[in-house]
């Protein structure tokens, strides 16, 4: 997993609430047994005029011109600015994989669905919760070339006007994301505790250990 220290990047505004994981990556692409290559299909139904299929070459597909991903002003953006309850719906990790593969490193919204929020941290993406008012003001300011500086260590976002916005992040998640650490290796450091738990639990609930 790519460590997240400081990201200075353009912002893409996706002005919709309740963006669900079916919209982020439609189900036909979930048939892949790979982890990479979902970026070209990110927001497929909103992005292209035709119906996307797995392994399709997207370079010549007709684009929906009014969708923000196709707006030349926001090409190269690595920060997605959006509205309430982003990532609701299915647990598919293909959603953060697609965002990551496209190039997004951070998503800013007033709220996120729980599973998606958690999945982001496993894939080097920082989901940032800001108040609806602050998100609203960012939507008003965002324009071609608008850049933010996100510093995970300091937990700050710096606007082009020099305004500093603080954000909260859970300490354990921050540590893992900041250092790009592997969850399994960290958890296996506790293997003795897991075995002790199993031995104790087997006495209380032996039917689970037959």
């Amino acid at each position: 997993m790519e460590a997240f220290k400081t990201v200075t990047a353009k912002v893409m505004p996706l002005d919709r609430a309740n963006v669900d994981t079916d919209a982020i990556i439609p189900k036909q692409f979930l048939k892949s047994i790979r982890r990479a290559g979902f970026g070209p299909y990110l927001f497929d139904e909103w992005r292209y005029e035709d119906i996307g299929e797995p392994e399709m070459d997207c370079s010549n597909r007709p684009l929906k011109k009014d969708f923000v991903l196709n707006n030349p002003d926001y090409q190269g953006a690595k920060i997605l600015l959006t509205r309430e309850n982003f990532g609701c719906g299915s647990s598919r990790e293909h959603a953060p994989w697609a965002l990551d593969d496209y190039g997004f490193r951070a998503v800013i919204a007033p709220s996120f669905a729980d599973i998606f929020f958690n999945n982001c941290f496993k894939n080097g993406i920082l989901p940032i919760v800001l108040s609806a008012e602050v998100v609203d003001s960012l939507f008003k300011d965002v324009a071609a070339g608008y850049q933010l500086v996100i510093n995970l260590g300091a937990q700050t976002i710096v606007t082009p006007q020099g305004e500093v916005i603080q954000f909260d992040v859970d300490a354990a998640r921050k540590y893992r994301l900041y250092n790009g650490l592997d969850d399994i290796a960290l958890t296996l450091l506790q293997a003795d505790k897991i075995k002790a738990y199993e031995a104790e639990r087997a006495k209380r609930a032996p039917w689970l250990f037959v």
């Binding site: 002005d15 919709r16 609430a17 309740n18 669900d20 079916d22 919209a23 439609p26 189900k27 036909q28 979930l30 048939k31 892949s32 047994i33 790979r34 982890r35 139904e45 119906i51 797995p54 392994e55 509205r83 309430e84 309850n85 609701c88 719906g89 299915s90 647990s91 598919r92 990790e93 953060p96 709220s111 669905a113 729980d114 599973i115 958690n118 999945n119 496993k122 894939n123 859970d170 300490a171 354990a172 969850d183 399994i184 958890t187 296996l188 506790q190 293997a191 505790k193 897991i194 738990y197 199993e198 639990r201 209380r204 609930a205 032996p206 039917w207 689970l208 037959v210």
Partner: protein, 468 residues
């Protein structure tokens, strides 16, 4: 405080270790695995040279991609076939039990688990699927995870979690005739919204909930995620214990007696404190129909499609305008005048025997409307299908012009060949009405099995209370 909620009890029972910041390592008793969210997890294990912590804690089944017709031939879609075959190979290589496509026990992972007694009261249960919340109906802590956590649970039998807050939803009193678990949960989502449960574990309680069968409780907990909560719960009672008696993976003999004693404790203590409480009056719940592209966009059958102009929140108002456009509806249109093209009865929400019985009782002796091009019944598992056939339900459906299919997720998410065409409108017993969910451009209305069946007969939504 000594009084605990059911969630507190389940949580405390599974904590292996708690860090200073409150993040806990939680032991996972059961992982269910399916073909869509597992291949990358197995691949990573393989690349890292890691083995599962305990193969017996895992149980696998292919459900999302499997065809619902002609199981004898191979899956025609080569990409879907590769994914199902990859699950077969991974399970064989890592020594994990799998019910393959030809096994009568094959079915939707959330139907198969309780049916086999593979998901039991008091367990922690995870699966790479958000509708894992279903299993909370048996007083288990069950929630969906992403593929990275599928891999983590395989390798360590644990997940790092922060405890959620406690949310109690009480549905007091009794529902009227024709009102089902699906109407109850849709009414709840209409009340609290799709983010109303975010950050919480919801315990569903009250007479209208405890009056439900296990199947009905599963329907309610299934859609906890549609209310934003990763997990839903119902306390254990005699209905729960009776349901699990004698199932293949249920405890046996002395262990059963021990388990029964332990499971009796799986309820919230009197005086336990919840962070949030919402109460509903069951008698006021009418048959529910969603009109939009989010499960919270739901109204009663005797209502009209709402007017965005009445919504004061500008973000929500825009959402309503988008939804009406996508759904091809006008505001103020009476719900019972909305004509449908297809009917889908199935999914992990509503494909259990009770659901099929409810639908069959409506269509018995009647015919599908000519204007309805397809009405399909997709049982939740091979065993549900077998039971329904034993009761003659398949004949009732076929005589009425409905199609009787093989078990799987099918048109709930349209990963297999079952999908809506652009512009088609479906009365569906599934759980999500998102844009494109049932097929590109497809329009989904979420309803109960009886309401879907009645819509298939009438060709438009009808008030099921006038039919029962």
């Amino acid at each position: 405080m000594s009084e605990k909620t059911l969630y507190d009890k389940l949580w405390d029972d599974h904590v292996v270790h708690t860090e200073d910041d409150g993040a806990s390592l939680i032991y996972i008793d059961r992982q269910l695995i399916h073909e869509v969210t597992s291949p990358q997890a197995f691949e990573s294990l393989r690349l890292a040279g890691r083995k599962p912590w305990n193969t017996q804690r895992n149980l696998a089944v292919a459900d999302h991609n499997v065809p619902t017709t002609n199981r004898k031939q191979k899956i025609p879609d080569p990409i879907a076939r590769l994914q199902v075959e990859t699950l077969d190979k991974n399970c064989a290589e890592f020594g994990i039990t799998e019910f393959d496509m030809d096994d009568v026990r094959q079915g939707i992972v959330h139907v198969m688990g309780p049916e086999q007694g593979a998901t039991l009261p008091g367990m922690t249960i995870v699966c790479g699927d958000s509708h894992t919340s279903t299993h909370g109906a048996s007083g288990a802590l069950a929630f969906g995870i992403g593929t990275s956590e599928v891999e983590l649970a395989l390798a360590t039998q644990c997940l790092t979690q922060k405890k959620s807050k406690n949310f109690l939803i009480k549905v007091n009193g009794s529902v009227g005739a024709g009102i089902t678990a699906k109407d109850i949960v849709l009414a709840i989502i209409g009340e609290i919204g799709t983010a109303g449960g975010t950050g919480y574990t919801i315990e569903f309680a009250g007479t209208a909930i405890t009056d439900l069968s296990m199947e009905g409780r599963m329907t309610v907990c299934n859609m906890a995620i549609e209310a934003g909560a990763r997990a839903g719960l119902v306390a254990v009672d005699e209905i729960t214990i009776d349901y699990y008696r004698g199932r293949p993976y249920s405890p046996k003999g002395e262990h059963w007696l021990m388990a029964e004693r332990e499971w009796q404790k799986l309820h919230s203590d009197d005086g336990a404190v919840f962070d949030k409480v919402v109460e509903l009056n069951a008698a006021e719940i009418k048959p529910q129909v969603t009109w939009g592209t989010s499960p919270e966009m739901v109204v009663a059958i005797d209502a009209k499609v709402p007017n965005p102009a009445d919504e004061l929140d500008s973000v929500k108002q825009q959402g309503m305008i988008n939804a009406l456009k996508y759904m091809g509806l006008e505001f103020n249109q009476p719900i019972n005048e909305i004509k449908i093209d297809k009917v889908f009865i199935g999914s992990c929400t509503n494909s259990r025997i009770e659901d099929l019985r409810a639908a069959a009782s409506i269509v018995k002796g009647k015919k599908k409307a000519d204007s309805v091009s397809l009405a399909m019944i997709v049982p939740g598992s091979g065993l549900v299908k077998q039971q329904a056939e034993k009761e003659g339900l398949d004949k009732i459906f076929i005589d009425a012009g409905f199609e009787w299919r093989e078990p799987g997720c099918s048109m709930c998410l349209a990963m297999n060949a079952d999908k809506l065409l652009a512009g088609e409108r479906c009365a569906s017993t599934s759980n999500r009405n998102f844009e494109g969910r049932q097929g590109y451009g497809g329009r989904t209305h979420l309803v109960s099995p009886a309401m879907a069946a009645a819509a298939g007969i009438a060709g438009h939504f009808v008030d099921i209370r006038e039919w029962v």
